[in-house]
């Protein structure tokens, strides 16, 4: 009998490994596709020659290929940072979604559920309307204000939902929804008076990774890396928290501290994503569910796999957004919602296999 148990474990391990490796390979493919495809058509060979740096020793293959400085600029300064930003934002949203769903033990939770997005939106709209051209740590005024708005909101929600010394997740969820609704109303009010800046505001809120630059990518990166590391460190705690807060405490999880850290880390990811790319829906909702269906709820695999799939998904969606009505662009939020919503409904229909909240 123990032999059979070993087999079971081995199979699970192989399954997890295969998933991660194929998602990484897929990431290379989507990245390459995204860099090659675009309004300005660049031959495949030129693109390869630009992307594969000389030190790989492969430059010999592309000797005859002509590369213009414009092509180099488009690929290295426009498309590549854009793909990077899409990957980072997609991964952040997916991981934050997984964390919120686990923390709230609620399959409907998404990265925006506790009001981070509305707070960030308010910050962004304020920045746009005041027309500030502030620069700080690589952020222009809009991302900076959005980031501050998001972080302030989650802090407010957290302290609002305190009951005595503890913060019950249900209260947190409800407070988040209430604050979110209020801030959305304020955003709508401001939008109403936006005047000639209405286009800019609306376009930002639809979400998109346009205007990406290496500076922005490198500015986001530290926040995102810190957020990811914190969250992954507590992957096991997240598993135990799925059994319920009280059980988690009985099993030795310092629930209040872990909740606070996870909440802060996930909010950091969301704030970074929203501040640079606006509100992009459904990535954080659908991706973790999809991974759960494949490998179960264990956060040790769910978190990295979700981040990879989220990155893939947003790169692909952004490529579509750039190319579908080229040379114009669609906001990527529209693509993710149009793909994500039907997919989510499909998942709901297959609820029995949702590997999460089984209705008893």
């Amino acid at each position: 009998m123990p032999h059979k148990g070993q087999d079971h474990k081995k199979i699970a391990k192989i399954k997890r490994g295969t998933l991660l490796i194929s998602l990484i390979l897929l990431l290379f493919v989507t990245t390459f596709m995204a860099v090659v495809l675009g309004a300005a058509s660049i031959p495949l060979k030129s693109a390869l020659a630009i992307l594969l740096p000389p030190f790989t020793g492969l430059d010999g293959l592309f000797k005859g290929v002509e590369i213009t400085e414009v092509q180099r600029g488009i690929i290295l300064q426009l498309r590549l940072p854009r793909v990077m930003q899409a990957a980072i934002v997609g991964a952040s949203l997916a991981v934050a979604g997984a964390v919120f769903q686990g923390l709230f033990r609620n399959p409907m939770a998404d990265p925006y559920v506790i009001g981070v997005s509305s707070g960030a939106a308010l910050g962004a709209v304020v920045a746009m309307l005041t027309g500030g051209t502030l620069f700080f740590a690589g952020f222009t005024a809009v991302p900076l204000f959005a980031f501050i708005g998001g972080v302030l909101t989650i802090t407010l929600v957290y302290y609002m939902s305190r009951v005595g010394k503890v913060v019950p997740v249900m209260t947190l969820l409800l407070a988040g929804i209430a604050v979110s609704a209020f801030l959305s109303a304020v955003v709508s009010l401001l939008t109403y008076f936006a005047g000639e800046k209405l286009d800019q505001v609306v376009f930002w809120m639809m979400g998109g990774v346009g205007g990406a630059s290496w500076a922005r990518v490198t500015a986001m990166l530290p926040y995102v890396i810190v957020g990811f590391c914190c969250i992954y460190y507590y992957a096991k705690e997240l598993n135990v928290l799925l059994l319920g807060e009280e059980t988690a405490r009985h099993l030795g999880v310092n629930t209040e501290r872990v909740k606070k850290i996870l909440l802060a880390a996930a909010s950091l990811l969301v704030a970074a994503a929203v501040s640079t790319s606006g509100i992009i829906g459904f990535v954080g909702l659908v991706v973790p569910h999809f991974i759960r269906m494949l490998v179960g709820p264990d956060h040790r695999i769910l978190l990295p796999a979700s981040s990879l799939l989220g990155a893939n998904l947003l790169i692909a969606a952004d490529t579509l957004a750039r190319n579908i009505i080229a040379p114009a662009e669609l906001p990527v939020g529209i693509i993710t919602a149009m793909v994500g919503a039907p997919m989510f409904i499909y998942l709901l229909k297959k609820r029995k296999k949702l590997r999460y909240f089984n209705t008893r």
């Binding site: 148990g5 030795g252 089984n358």
Partner: protein, 428 residues
């Protein structure tokens, strides 16, 4: 592996409304205590407070003399495990994954006991009989299986103090027994201190030697079964009349409740005019008495000794009974009394009791009453095997047959016989 627990001045409540007020008790390491009390008495609340799931309003819990508040969650989880009341499972971990989480308090610190983990998890699954289910999704388990899974997880924590909140509520009697047996073994072999909130008092007296009875936010009584399980305490805490007696098989105290409601309810529908007199006692008579009582007949009984189960039955339901002093034969006076009871009855029933020299006079009295026109029913099955009078009883039975007694094989036949003859009489 045992832990001293001290609860000092503990007041606990929700929304500052105290549920438990100024609780004080000490538990020596290796003790095994059943926590009793009615619904809402605060059993779960007390356990939750000991496990630090709930902050007390005031007071302190000490583990081995150390204040619980000064210990980290992981430190506590290495000493104390909780098996809560059944909680729903709404995630899709496998049973094994859930049980492995019992090792969580040991995982974070050092990596070296990783290999140890697997054998601990496996043995916990084997002890609780859930090994074969280990690859199933926890969400698909039945209530009993889930309870055993949670218990296995608690075992993985290698606790020195085990808190059980209604651990047997969802289990069938087989698993109830098995689970409490495991608890008992843990307590005896590893000196694990155990506190279990438990509703089934009779199950509690089988496995526990010490009791704490909660009522009205206080400890109403604590100590041995004899000290705690008294009729007054049961009435004061649970609000029901109870009869306390020793179990005839294992001698532990048993609590039987509902005497009032049972007897008063059944008195109303009982027709005093249609009384049936049952001769003799013992287990054989008891089944006949129960069947007649259930059908609404009023009864009288005799003669039986004080230790007889028939006597307890008569006492419980306030039925007229002739008491026969132990180890003595039936006196003339008793015979007279017996005859009087028979004369007042509509029927005389002779259950399948054994016959000895001592109780032959009862048969004689029955014959006398039948001669006066009271109909009799005799359970005739295997009469020879019950006859310890070298045939004397047999001749009495022959005589009763001659007097027109109905011979039946079981209670059902007896009831049918009584019913048929009533109808017959009415049509006369």
């Amino acid at each position: 592996m045992s832990l001293n627990l001290r609860v000092h001045g503990l007041s606990i409540g929700y929304d500052s409304l105290p549920i438990l007020d100024d609780m004080n008790f000490n538990l020596q390491g290796g003790e095994m205590v059943a926590l009793l009390g009615p619904n809402g008495a605060g059993k779960s609340t007390l356990l939750r407070c000991i496990s630090k799931a709930l902050e007390p309003i005031k007071g302190t819990v000490f583990f081995n003399g150390r204040e619980a508040g000064s210990l980290s969650a992981a430190e506590i989880a290495r000493q104390l495990a909780v098996v809560p009341q059944d909680t729903g499972v709404d995630f899709d971990f496998t049973v094994e994954e859930v049980i492995q989480m019992g090792r969580f308090p040991y995982d974070k610190g050092s990596r070296k006991n990783k290999t140890n983990n697997e054998s601990i998890v496996n043995s916990a699954m084997e002890i609780t009989g859930i090994f074969s289910l280990r690859h199933r999704s926890a969400a698909t388990l039945s209530g009993g299986e889930r309870q055993r899974m949670v218990f296995a997880r608690a075992l993985c924590q290698e606790p020195e103090l085990l808190l059980l909140d209604e651990p047997t509520a969802n289990l069938d009697i087989g698993y109830q027994w098995e689970l409490l047996d495991i608890v008992l073994r843990l307590n005896r072999e590893k000196r694990v201190t155990v506190i279990a909130a438990i509703h089934d008092l009779n199950l509690a007296t089988l496995f526990f030697r010490q009791f704490i009875l909660l009522a009205g936010g206080k400890v109403l009584a604590s100590g041995s079964a004899e000290e705690v399980l008294t009729e007054e305490n049961i009435l004061a805490s649970y609000g029901v009349q109870a009869s306390i007696f020793r179990h005839p098989l294992h001698g532990r105290l048993q609590v039987s409740v509902g005497k009032d409601s049972m007897s008063s309810m059944q008195k109303k529908v009982r027709d005093g005019e249609k009384r049936v007199h049952v001769i003799g006692g013992g287990q054989e008579a008891l089944s006949v008495l129960e069947a007649l009582w259930e059908k609404g007949y009023s009864l009288s009984l005799g003669p039986v000794s004080r230790e007889d189960s028939g006597y307890h039955f008569a006492h419980f339901f306030d039925i007229p009974v002739i008491e026969n002093p132990p180890f003595s034969s039936i006196s003339d006076e008793m015979c007279k009394e017996h005859l009087k009871l028979m004369q007042e009855s509509k029927w005389i029933v002779l259950p399948p009791i054994s016959f000895g020299e001592e109780n032959l006079r009862n048969l004689e009295t029955m014959a006398e009453a039948m001669a006066q026109g009271i109909p009799g029913i005799v359970f005739g099955e295997q009469a020879e095997e019950r006859d310890f009078t070298v045939g004397k009883a047999a001749s009495f039975l022959e005589r009763l047959k001659g007097q027109g007694a109905f011979f039946v094989n079981d209670s059902e036949e007896a009831l049918a016989c009584m019913k048929n003859n009533e109808i017959h009489k009415k049509t006369d």
